[in-house]
Amino acid sequence: MRAPASPQFRFLLRGSSLLLALLALWWWVLLTPMLGGMRVATDLILRTLPGGSSVGSVTLGSGKDWVLRVPMPAALANQDSVQRAFGRAPGAPAVKVRSFKLAIAEGIPTFFLLSFPLFWALVLAAPRMRRLGRVVAIGTGLLALLAELSLLLYTAFSIEINLHLVTSSAAAAIWRGAEYLNVNVVPYLVPLLLAVWLHEGLRAQIFSREAPLVPVAATEATEADKPRRGRYRGR
């Protein structure tokens, strides 16, 4: 008789299949509305920033690029590096800088939305549980927040690259490290951590100290074994 596949192997097969299916669904169906929602949210955030009510905006540029107009606080706008970047000549009066215009390829926000299909595939591949809908909803909400934060951090980093706002080398190294993690690690790592954190069944299977025990066939069991077997099974 063939031994049943291990839960890890079944999880790998289910997860890989679901990932393929959900990536396809995400790419062809969900991505456009998700990008639209993210653009509206980013637009609202830029408008609520100090000085952003009149200048903050996100518009679609040529080739589906996102054109972000990020309000510049006076403290930043008056910095020497910013003034030089905006063309102030030495000795000339300060240039009035209200916003910074930045164009980013649509691939950037798309990339930050990748967390969703990965998270959904992981929680749907995990053992069935009650309130799965709640787990999916909470995880999706948190990932929406994360995607927005990642995009804002990317925007801040891009502005810094252009204007050289960070002067200390230690701060610059930390800033570069944060951006590296933001782009290369967070979109893949956070869905995995969220899935394990939110899905109790998956978490219990991975971390429970007690190894799952053999459900002994009824024909092999004696009467004396029954209560004990039941106790182990309940763990």
Binding site: P7, F11, W27, L114, R176, Y188, A204, I206, S208, A211
Partner: protein, 193 residues
């Protein structure tokens, strides 16, 4: 009933086992150690003094990929961290984040944080790292062929599909190791009863 019947673990388990109070306690400790390990290991990855070693490792992976392709009758040449088809001159570069270092760090942090003996951790680190890099070689070689076939498929597989699959594989490798650690623990407990 023989004792070994009671203590023999099986890969099957109930669909949704309830979380135990102890599990939550261990999760807190695990999370703390995991985050610390992750921070230290990513700090090391991004530190300038580790860069030459990581570049050499990346170059080694590209060389192995080229050799594997040639063993199976394909055409490939390694030039540093670039894998090239000498016939079509199509080339792909194994960039800093494409050498499996991120998922290796993730696995190492999880293994180091999990309550197990140092010997078990060392075995997990060795076998898990080999498993991850075996999958990464498959990934890199498949991308090499996909890129020659269609660029749009290469982009999708490179950015979205393979990276996600690598994460899934890492979780499964860790889960399998944790399961074996628990299994050996329960075996040891059973033998001392």
């Amino acid at each position: 009933m023989p004792k070994d019947k009671l203590s023999t673990p099986v890969p099957e388990s109930p669909p949704s086992p309830p979380a135990q109070p102890g599990v939550e306690m261990r999760m807190g400790r695990f999370l703390l150690l995991f985050c610390v390990s992750l921070a230290v290991l990513f700090g090391l990855l991004l530190a300038p003094f580790t860069e030459p070693a990581i570049r050499s490792f990346t170059t080694g992976l590209v060389t192995v990929s080229a050799q594997l392709i040639r063993v199976f009758g394909g055409h490939a040449a390694a030039r540093g961290d670039i894998l090239e088809n000498p016939t079509s001159h199509f080339a792909i570069q194994m960039a800093y984040g494409c050498n499996g270092a991120h998922v290796t760090i993730l696995l190492w942090a999880a293994l180091l944080a999990f309550p197990a003996s140092w010997m078990q951790k060392l075995k997990g680190l060795a076998v898990g790292t080999v498993a991850i890099h075996a999958v990464n070689l498959v990934r890199f070689i498949s991308l090499f062929y996909l890129g020659q076939y269609r660029q749009s498929w290469f982009d999708f597989a490179h950015l979205y599909l393979w990276e996600s699959l690598m994460m899934l594989d890492t979780l499964v490798i860790f889960w399998t190791w944790a399961y074996m650690v628990r299994k050996s623990g329960s075996m040891a407990n059973a033998s001392t009863r």
